[in-house]
Structures are given as structure tokens and as C-alpha cells.
């Protein structure tokens, strides 16, 4: 991006002429996210120098947006007083993220310099399992009482709003139970003497701390919320998830799904910051497993070795049949997996899905079969061979059957995996391909060994 580039060049210029005062004023005007991004590229010395010029609020905001390596470097280099200053400025959920990523020695130094209230909040968030709502919530929010007037509510928001991650949705509580939700917009546009109880929504849409974090993201997206309240098992409000964190989770989850569909173990770091060794670790297990599982296809082909030797031309179409089957199955599975993860498809829709895929697969098969026949006959030149028509028909019929089977396997497998409460994305494309490959070969050879005279005569599988 040119913005980050410009920022970087300007900072470098100021550093070069050692005009720290102008640099400080310049940095004051910049967005902390950009500052963090640009500083990531700096050498350690320039980096520390820049960071020390930032006022504490900006420093804290830039800090939470940095790489964990850089954060560690900073914490190691900061005085206790400065560290405390920054920790006081950051939100409990960011602090919990930080603590989650630092080595033990750094963690104890961080916890030593946070006030007891923050320490409790960090511990509360860290206690929730990874990927739960509790692990992404913040414990800071604005709570109001139901008998407050609009004027009183505005006064309270103005007083406490400085510390809260989001002030735009306020929660009306009674003995820590959530009894209503009201937006700052609704408060602002109402008359001063109106009572909150008459303005608030009492049907509160919320999530539980133990829900999957995707549940919070889904609801925020569906209802267009800026934040969603998080309740504990006794229905007391313990925090909120804000829309900016929801967007981050949405992006991460989509990346994870995409990685898993491509047979990669997901990792949270961006590609360029992941070492070749880590990338290898995330890719080689599936490659190995799928390579070993190809033993199935080798076996099937070996058992028809004599047949293939007698009619070698059959071999030429194996890649086409397996490839088309794999693609057809992949289309179905990826569609279903995405639908499941967006909650557009549920397990109760299984019959509908199968019925729909059956029709789609019949249509696809009926379209592809004649083209396959023509391709094999004329493009691959089988019209010159003695059994040409027969073999073209076999290829075409196999293709039809394989497309139908592949789409049915492709839609059923993710639903089955979902039914046993595993993640459908991990069974995606490549695994389905292995199943479909085996099916395709069995159908192909079964048809060929019955219908090609040279094979039907005697060269049946050993």
C-alpha cells in the first residue's frame, strides 16, 4: 500500500536528520495500525527510538497491533514504569491475547505490572477454551440501570466511556443479569426525560461464554450488531464481543476453512511471516497420508494389470476419469462445507441436499457423457481403433456414473462428518478425491472387462 510506504519514508527522513520533535508531531497524526505495520519493518534501534516517541495511548494501540516477536522485544526493553503505563491503556482482551503469546518469563513480568482488576479480567478470559466466545470477549462495557433517564444515561456514558472498548451499545442490568439492550443512537435521539426502560429492547440476543466463537460472529453479522453481550451459565452478563474482533475471527475462520479444504493444517500467522519449516509441518502430514491412501488405487489397477496389458489404450483415459470425478466431487463437497460453516445448510436438510445433488449430478453427467464420447472418438482418435466405439462408450458411461457417484459422496461425506461433530472442512477435496478415485477405477474396469471382447474373453482380474 502506498500509504504505509509514504509513512515509512517520512519517518526515515525525520530519523536521518534526527528531528525527533517533528517526527513526534508527525506520528501523532497517524493511525496506530499503520504505525505498527511500518515499524515492523524497522531495525531494532530505529524501532525502539520511534516507539519511545509515541504518547502512551498511541503507544498502547500500536503495541497491540504488532507482531508478537516485536512485542516481546519491546517488553524486554521497557522500564517497569513505562510497561505499566502501556498495560494500563490496553483492553483486557488484547492483554489476554498478549499473555497467551508470550513466554512464561515475560508473562509473569506483565502480570506483575497490571492492576488487580485487569489481572482478574485477563485470567477470566484465559480460562475459556481456545475458539470459545469467552476467549475473544472483552470484559469492558457500559452498563446502565432501567430507571435512568436519557439525560442521566448520557451523563454516565460521557463519564465512564473513556475506558470502554465500545460505548455504542449499552446494557441495562439488574443484579448483573441482562434485562435490556439500548443503543447510544436510541438514547441520543430520545428526549432528555425519557426513561430507559421505555426505550430499551428486552428481547436480548446474546451468546454464552462457552459457545463457539463463530456463534458470536454469525449473530453479529446476521443482525448487523456493533457488539453482542456474552452471558455466563447463570445468565449474568460477563462481557461483550465487538464487531471489529468479529471481523478478525470471520477472516481467520474463512482462511482456516480454505486451508483445510486444500489439505493444509491451518496456521494463524501470515504466509510471509511463517518459516519454511512451519509451512512444511503444516503441509506434509496430509500429503503423506493421501500418498499412502493411494495404495487403494494402485491395488485396483494392479489387479487389472493383465487386462490393461491386453488393451493398453484404456490407460490413457484413467487421468481424465479420475480428474473429472475428483472435480465433480470437490464441487459438491466444497459447496456443502461452506454452506454448513455459514449455517445456511443444517443436518436436518440432508435429504434435501442429497435430492438436489442427485439432480445436479444427473444433469452434469448427461452433459459431460456425450462430450466425452466425442472427445475420445475424435480428439483422442479412437475412431481408428478396432474397439474404438465400444471403448468410447465405456469411457462415456463411466464418466456419467462417476460424476453422479462423486457428487453424492461429495455432499454426504461432509454431512456425515458434521453429524459426528467433527469439522467437515478437514474431509474436503483431497480425501473425497481418494474415495472417488477408487470408485472411478472400479466402475471403469468393471465395465471394460465385461464389454471389451478381448478382455471379456479371459483377461479378468487376477
Amino acid at each position: 500500500m502506498s500509504e504505509a510506504y509514504e509513512l515509512k519514508e517520512k519517518i526515515k527522513d525525520f530519523l536521518e536528520i534526527r528531528d525527533f520533535k517533528s517526527l513526534k508531531n508527525y506520528l501523532l497524526e497517524q493511525n496506530p495500525v499503520d504505525i505498527a505495520e511500518v515499524m515492523d519493518d524497522f531495525g531494532d534501534k530505529e524501532f525502539s527510538l520511534c516507539f519511545r516517541l509515541l504518547p502512551k495511548e498511541l503507544a498502547a494501540e500500536a503495541f497491540v497491533n504488532m507482531d508478537s516477536d516485536r512485542q516481546k522485544l519491546l517488553i524486554d526493553g521497557l522500564s517497569d514504569a513505562k510497561l505499566k503505563e502501556i498495560l494500563d491503556e490496553i483492553c483486557p482482551d488484547d492483554a489476554a491475547d498478549l499473555v497467551g503469546e508470550m513466554p512464561a518469563g515475560v508473562v509473569s513480568r506483565i502480570l506483575k505490572h497490571t492492576d488487580p482488576e485487569m489481572r482478574d479480567a485477563i485470567n477470566a478470559i484465559l480460562r475459556y477454551p481456545k475458539n470459545s466466545v469467552g476467549s475473544i470477549m472483552t470484559t469492558e462495557y457500559v452498563s446502565l440501570r432501567r430507571n435512568m433517564t436519557v439525560a442521566e444515561a448520557i451523563a454516565k456514558i460521557r463519564r465512564v466511556g473513556v475506558d470502554k472498548e465500545t460505548v455504542y451499545t449499552c446494557y441495562v442490568t439488574e443484579q448483573r443479569k441482562l434485562v435490556g439492550v439500548i443503543s447510544v443512537r436510541a438514547i441520543l435521539v430520545a428526549q432528555d426525560d425519557e426513561i430507559l426502560e421505555n426505550l430499551m429492547t428486552t428481547e436480548c440476543i446474546s451468546v454464552l461464554t462457552t459457545d463457539d466463537r463463530e456463534a458470536a460472529v454469525e449473530k453479529i453479522g446476521k443482525y448487523g450488531f456493533l457488539a453482542i453481550p456474552v452471558l455466563d451459565t447463570e445468565e449474568r452478563i460477563v462481557g461483550i464481543v465487538t464487531v471489529d474482533d468479529a471481523m478478525d475471527v470471520m477472516e481467520t475462520e474463512a482462511s482456516e476453512d480454505i486451508a483445510q479444504m486444500a489439505a493444509i493444517l491451518p496456521s494463524e500467522k501470515p504466509y510471509l511471516k511463517t518459516s519454511a519449516f512451519r509451512l512444511w509441518l503444516s503441509r506434509v502430514p496430509w500429503l503423506l497420508l493421501l500418498m499412502i491412501s493411494a495404495t487403494l488405487t494402485s491395488r485396483i489397477i494392479s489387479s487389472y494389470e493383465t487386462a490393461l496389458a491386453a488393451c493398453a489404450v484404456l490407460t490413457a483415459f484413467i487421468p481424465m476419469i479420475m480428474g473429472t470425478g475428483g472435480n465433480a466431487g470437490g464441487q459438491a463437497s466444497v459447496t456443502i462445507i461452506r454452506g454448513l460453516s455459514l449455517d445456511e445448510i443444517r443436518l436436518s436438510d440432508t435429504l434435501w441436499v442429497v435430492w438436489k445433488e442427485l439432480r445436479v449430478s444427473l444433469l452434469c453427467g448427461l452433459t459431460l457423457a456425450p462430450f466425452a464420447f466425442l472427445k475420445v472418438m475424435y480428439l483422442d482418435g479412437l475412431w481408428r481403433e478396432p474397439d474404438g466405439v465400444r471403448i468410447s462408450l465405456i469411457v462415456s458411461a463411466t464418466l456419467f456414473l462417476v460424476v453422479v457417484a462423486a457428487k453424492l459422496v461429495g455432499c454426504l461425506l461432509p454431512l456425515l462428518v458434521k453429524a459426528v461433530r467433527l469439522d467437515p472442512a478437514v474431509v474436503a477435496n483431497p480425501f473425497i478425491t481418494t474415495v472417488v478415485d477408487a470408485l472411478a477405477l472400479v466402475v471403469y474396469f468393471a465395465l471394460a472387462s465385461r464389454l471389451v471382447p478381448a478382455l471379456a474373453a479371459g483377461a479378468l482380474p487376477v
Copy 2:
């Protein structure tokens, strides 16, 4: 979801006993998104009945969340007065979406009943190309002047805020040019007599109407904004994109990428609402194209037909080699495509990417090769064959070379496609598989025909 289910049952109960007054009161408490979701499942008669019970704000909010079929049904059934009432309540961007989806006759009826200001706004939004920032922005936002005091700003927000899609980020303008941005939070927590100029941020991060809509989503996500200002080419503010719309776009774009990686033409409707015919249309073109492109692999195999007949066991490992190559290439391409679409990888990183993939592919190849050798020797039983060791070595060496080549092709192809300004997602997995398949066969046969004595003796390609 149980919430929607509960809502549906309750509405049905009220309808059954014809207690419309209680139904109305009940609906008043519900979220319009849920109402729209539940009403989608109702019969036409119940549907119209329910809708007429909703007060206009709720009706309008439910209306924009409905299926386009249902929206059409409603518009056809509404009186002119009621239609106008609803149109007056909805935001220009939702109105533009509506107009974009309705048939011509309905559109002219809609435009007849919107006031001139709204009509201009709708037309302005519709004029922007699909997928541009202009097409997803709303033209309603709160603008303030730089010399206003905090008290004056609050008074203005309270006065005009009723009509604005988002009031939480305000834009300071001067002759329609954007000179500053200030959050309602910053205004609320400041002193009454403070001047906005001293509180606002002057480094405004913005997008242009003609930018790709992903640019707006990316910036909103990166900076954690609730809205981003949209400027025209003369730097005048013409609208904003809000975070809820950004989340929708993010989800749609991820779904599109996923579909394209699986060789599906993306469609915007959810799976269960897409007809089998439409699904066929979105899937069959790629299947057909990839089937035809498999002519390449058929040709290669055919040209080695005599060799394969002489050493039939070679055929058994074709699926494993091609499959592993396809998986290895797919891992690289999917990673790079996702990185490009998240802007984590840029074209200028090409050399870095190639260097990283080269190392990863060497690591993967070196891991897989010995396993492949052992698998072929013992799992597939080649130790019993005369040329067993030799063939196992050939398979293992081919696999190594194919994994390296596949990863390099997999990372380079998306970058190349991006360089010529096309969408990298469309060249993904299946297309790369075709290239890698051909490469794999050529390497395999080249090695085999040189190293297996029976073949090297004479059975070279025709």
C-alpha cells in the same frame, strides 16, 4: 436455530386463535432479521397478514432482510400509500439493492413512490459498477463543521441522527470536502465547550467510489472502523461504507474465492435456495473444460502405450503420482491466492514467495520420497518383481521432482494471473492440477523409459 423455531411456533399459535392484537405486541419485541427469516417459510396468506401487522419501521427493516421473491410479492400486494411508507424508512443503499433485483415493472413502481432526494441517491449508487465501493455505500451520514463546539455537535447528532444509518462516526466537511473525522465517543467524552477542530483526526483514511469494494472491507477490518468515508475523484465525501455491510461483503467474497478454487462459478444465493438447474450452470462449464484439457494427459499416456504394455506395473502408480502432485500444487496455490486476497502477499513479494516455496517443496519432496520408496516396495509388493527396486526408485524420484515442480507452478501461476490483473482464484486447484498432471507424466515416463531395461532397450515413445 431454536430462536427462529420458537418465534415461528408462537406466531403460528397466535394466527390459529386469530389473536392479532397479541401477535402484534409479540412481533414488536422481536428482531426484524428474525421476523424476515421466519416469514420466509410462511404461506403467502399468513405472510401478508403478518406483514400488515408490523409498524412501519419494523416492516421496513424486516422487508430489506427478505428474499427478493418475497419482496416482489409484497410490493405487488401493497397499496401505494403503504409502499411509500416503507420506502421512506429504508436506507438508500438497501433501496438500491432492491431496485437492482426487481423486474422493470416493479422498479418503475418503486421509483414512482420514492421522494426525489432518495431517487437521486438510488440512481447515484446504481451508476457505480458492480463490486465497486460506490455500489455498497450509503449516502446518509452525519456531517459536522470544524468550528462547532462539542455541545453543538451533540445537539446536531441528536437532531439529525434519526435518519442516518450510522451516527457513530461523524465527518467534518468544508465545501463538501472531508477535512476531519471524529467519533461520537470522542465527542461524548470531551468537555461541552471544546471545539471539534481540536478533537478531530485530520489524517482521514478513506476509499474512492471507484475502488474495489474489497478495499473498503480491508480497511474497515484493518483499522477496526465502524464506517469508512467514500470520496469522489475531487475528494468530496459522497457517502460511507458501514461495518455491517463490510461484514456481508467479506463473507460473500470468501464464499466466491472458495467456490472458484473448487472450479465453481460463484452465485450469490444460498445453496438451498438455488435451483438444481442454476447449480448445474455454475458447475458444468469448468467440468467440461477440465475434461477436455485432460486430452493432454491422454496424449502423453498414449504416446507411451507400448512402454506401458511392456511394463504394465508402471500404470499402477500413475494415480498416486498425479494425485500427490495435484495436492502439493493445490496447497501452494491456495495459500498464495488467499494471501493475495487478504493483501498479505503482494506482487513485489514474488521472489520471496518462490524462494520460500522452493525450500518448502524440497523439504516436502525429501520427506515423501523415502516413504514412497518403502510404500511401493513393500505395501505395493514390488520387492517380488524383477525390476522392483529400480521401479520403486523411479516412482520415488518422480514424486520428489513432481512435488517441487507442483509447488513452484502452484505459487507462480496465481502471481502471474494477478500480474495481468485477472482474478487468481479462477486459476486455482483444478487448472493447476491439469498442468501438474501433464508434468508428472512426462517426468515419470522419461525416467522410466531411460532406466527400466525392458523399456530402454527399444520400447521408446512412438
